[in-house]
């Protein structure tokens, strides 16, 4: 007996017979193997594969039928893709790809199955236990009246005048979702936390901030929602997580101190970095997103990191990179998991301090907001300043002698909700866009402070109304007559691309997208 834990997801049809033969004939199956019988490997999503690791598995096997013998046709092909994606993600995470395998067996291949299991167990033993700490299952905490009252008074929600301006500005309500921020505020003030509308709607809000902009009593609705989510989740509330909660699991996993993440391995050789620099480039989770969505959306948000680094190099800045960079914690903070957000924050700040960094530059609006604004607000002291790359670029470009090559595209711009909250310096992306030389630049009907967001935030509460919102947004983009949609956040690219994958509307909605850093990097030149 040993302490290793290996999960064997076993398809009901082919390989289960082989496994049963082993059991019936009294063959010795390694102790550490726990078998879970499933109807089809194609239904074991990336999030379920990853969940096994999150709950403490040292190795995971997805065993299914041989290609062509899948009872449902496409199960094996899907299982292969899911396993490949998850393997690459756990590779980046520093867990080791080898810990996850997809295998196929015929019903009569019991000997081969046993041999495989023995070999795999040996391999895992030699790798040692998983560096990922199992996430403890926390006791559900009842919501106390006090904690609720504290949040209500902290955000001064009592000041709500019941005017309904928020509900009439909310893009979700406008798209037809039966959802009213005003009603939500009122139910929470009344302490009616068990009402179905609170439990459902609390996860729907996009935290885009449009309502806050309109509220005459300055109730900071998004932050209010965020804090209420924290108490509801403590009670054991479901966060309505998109993609089976894969991203929340991934981000929680990064709180394990033993993980040596490897998120920079893919950088091209010609990008210059300097481990001794006092300036650090903080990348964010794009590399994970790209792998997760590669077979579906085909987004390439990693390019934003590459282009940003190239732009820094263009201005002779060779930044350091955090080899063990972890998620900034934004998505956990906004989907109710404050405890793990705080852990990530503490770990990132400690690593940055250990390098003696004076300035952190980032191109991700969420990382920027979280590092610059939320870390200090949650009591984490920073001995460095945080700069969004747009600010740095605007500064450097305004020194002069910089020109931009003409680009034969008509462009429009998708605002990032996280950047819209930055008061100073105002509207940096537009300042930069105005320097470019496209054939034309036209704003969408809703732009700037009243822009419609990309339809999802923190991988929470995605539903048909999110899709409707995205469709509306992309139609607005097409209405400008533009053929290139410039974005400022990797997530905007992901969520908007998602709507463009629609089998019925996809073609109508399709539009080329590029991040602002990408179009700058492509056209900037010395005068």
């Amino acid at each position: 007996m040993n302490d290793f834990k290996i999960i064997l997801f076993l398809c009901n049809w082919g390989p289960h017979t082989a496994f049963q033969t082993l059991q019936d004939t009294g063959r010795e199956i390694p102790d550490e193997v726990s078998m879970i019988r499933i109807p089809c490997t194609g239904r074991i999503s990336k999030s379920l594969l990853f969940k096994a690791f999150e709950m403490g598995a040292d190795g995971v096997v997805l065993a299914g039928c041989k290609p062509g013998t899948c009872r449902y046709g496409s199960g094996t092909a899907t299982a292969i893709e899911n396993t490949e994606d998850t393997r690459d993600i756990i590779g980046l995470l520093g867990l080791g790809k080898e810990r996850l395998r997809h295998v196929t067996f015929f019903p009569d291949e019991s000997d081969l199955l046993l041999k495989f299991l023995n070999d795999f167990c040996n391999q895992i033993r030699s790798l040692g236990p998983s560096p990922m700490l199992p996430i403890p299952i926390t006791e559900s905490e009842a919501i106390s009246r006090e904690s609720l009252a504290e949040i209500v008074s902290y955000h001064d929600a009592f000041a709500c005048q019941d005017c309904g301006k928020c509900s009439s500005a909310c893009p979700l309500a406008l798209i037809g979702k039966p959802f009213s921020p005003r009603e939500l505020v009122n139910s929470i003030i009344a302490g009616d936390m068990d009402s179905p509308s609170v439990n459902k709607d609390i996860w729907s809000c996009l935290t885009c901030g449009l309502c806050y902009d309109r509220c005459p009593s300055a109730v900071n609705f998004p932050e209010f929602i965020r804090d209420i989510r924290h108490v509801i989740r403590k009670k054991g509330g479901n966060a309505h997580e998109a993609h089976g909660g894969f991203f929340q699991s991934l981000m929680r996993a990064m709180t394990s101190p033993g993980l040596k993440t490897q998120r920079w391995d893919w950088l091209p050789q010609d990008v210059e970095v300097d481990s001794k620099s006092k300036i650090l480039f903080f990348g964010g989770c794009s590399p994970y997103f790209d792998i997760f969505f590669r077979n579906h959306l085909g987004v390439e948000t990693r390019k934003i990191l590459k282009d940003s680094l190239r732009l820094l190099n263009f201005f002779d800045i060779k930044p350091a990179l955090l080899q063990d960079e972890r998620c900034c914690g934004h998505d956990l903070l906004w989907s109710g998991d404050k405890d793990n957000f705080l852990k990530l924050a503490a770990m990132n700040v400690e690593s940055i301090h250990n390098l003696g960094i004076e300035e952190v530059i980032t191109a991700c609006p969420e990382c920027y907001r979280t590092l610059a604004h939320d870390y200090p607000k949650y009591g984490i002291t920073l001995n460095f300043k945080v700069t969004h790359i747009y600010e740095l670029l605007e500064n450097e470009i305004s020194k002069g002698a910089i020109d931009f090559k003409k680009i034969d595209k008509k462009i429009t711009f998708q605002d990032s909700c996280r950047l819209n909250w930055i008061e100073e310096p105002a509207d940096l992306p537009r300042k930069l866009i105005r320097r470019l030389k496209p054939s034309s630049f036209r704003e969408m009907q809703n732009n700037g402070k009243s822009a419609i967001c990309c339809g999802n935030c923190a991988w929470t509460g995605c539903d048909a109304f999110s899709k409707a919102l995205q469709v509306k947004r992309l139609r607005q983009a097409h209405d400008t007559g533009s053929d290139l949609l410039v974005t400022a956040c990797p997530k905007c690219q992901i969520h908007l691309r998602c709507a463009m994958e629609d089998p019925f509307l996809g073609e109508e909605l399709n539009m080329e997208m590029i991040d602002l850093t990408g179009i700058i990097a492509k056209t900037i030149c010395w005068e």
Partner: protein, 202 residues
């Protein structure tokens, strides 16, 4: 011979040309003062007066030298700074063959057949952005300091502060720095281009 010695020994003749009201003469004074007080060199200034000085064309002739200056007029400058089209048209033929030409690109359009290399800066546009067109001359001094080696950054900055009206020091320092940054960026851009790195994605 180091660069510092080099610029101490050589005699430099400079003309700044523009129209009345742009602070052309003040720019000349700042340059001369920087050389004389900051760098302990000799300097002279001759300014054009006459019917031209109000709104018409106007110029400042500055000589900077490590030795005694016997003749303060400049007819063939080493450095020609043009802040007006008419000044440019009148003086472009007189600049020395390997002299340095600097223009305010918002005000001067160099002739198409012009073969020589030159430096340009949108000084007036930048001054407008700072809220005072008047300050283009200081931006120009900053630029000139960066792209030529007549005076040092320190001497120039001090001289600016001593010569401008009290209470405008902050604005003038900002203007000087803007011009200087622009100059450094221009030099860097030239270097990068020469090394074949014109853009961010090569």
């Amino acid at each position: 011979m180091t660069d510092a010695q080099n610029h101490k020994q050589a005699k430099k003749e400079i003309i700044i040309t523009g129209f009345g009201g742009q602070g052309i003469i003040l720019a000349g004074i700042i340059l001369g003062k920087a050389a004389a007080i900051g760098e302990h060199m000799e300097s002279t200034l001759v300014q054009s007066y006459g019917p031209e000085s109000r709104g018409g064309s106007c110029n400042a002739q500055v000589v900077i030298s490590h030795e005694m200056i016997h003749y303060p007029y400049v007819s063939h400058p080493d450095i020609l700074v043009c802040m007006s089209q008419s000044g440019y048209d009148k003086l472009i033929q007189q600049i020395k063959e390997n002299g340095t030409l600097i223009i305010d690109q918002d005000l001067v359009r160099p002739a198409r057949e012009l073969k020589r290399d030159f430096f340009s800066i949108p000084a007036t546009g930048m001054a407008e952005e700072l809220g005072r067109v008047m300050i283009a001359n200081i931006i120009m001094i900053g630029f000139l300091t960066a792209v030529t080696d007549v005076i040092s950054m320190d001497a120039a900055q001090k001289s600016v502060l001593e010569s401008v009206p009290k209470g405008t020091e902050k604005l003038n320092t900002t203007a000087f720095k803007k011009g200087h940054d622009y100059g450094l960026a221009t030099l860097k851009g030239r270097q990068k281009k020469a090394a074949g790195q014109a853009g961010a994605i090569s």
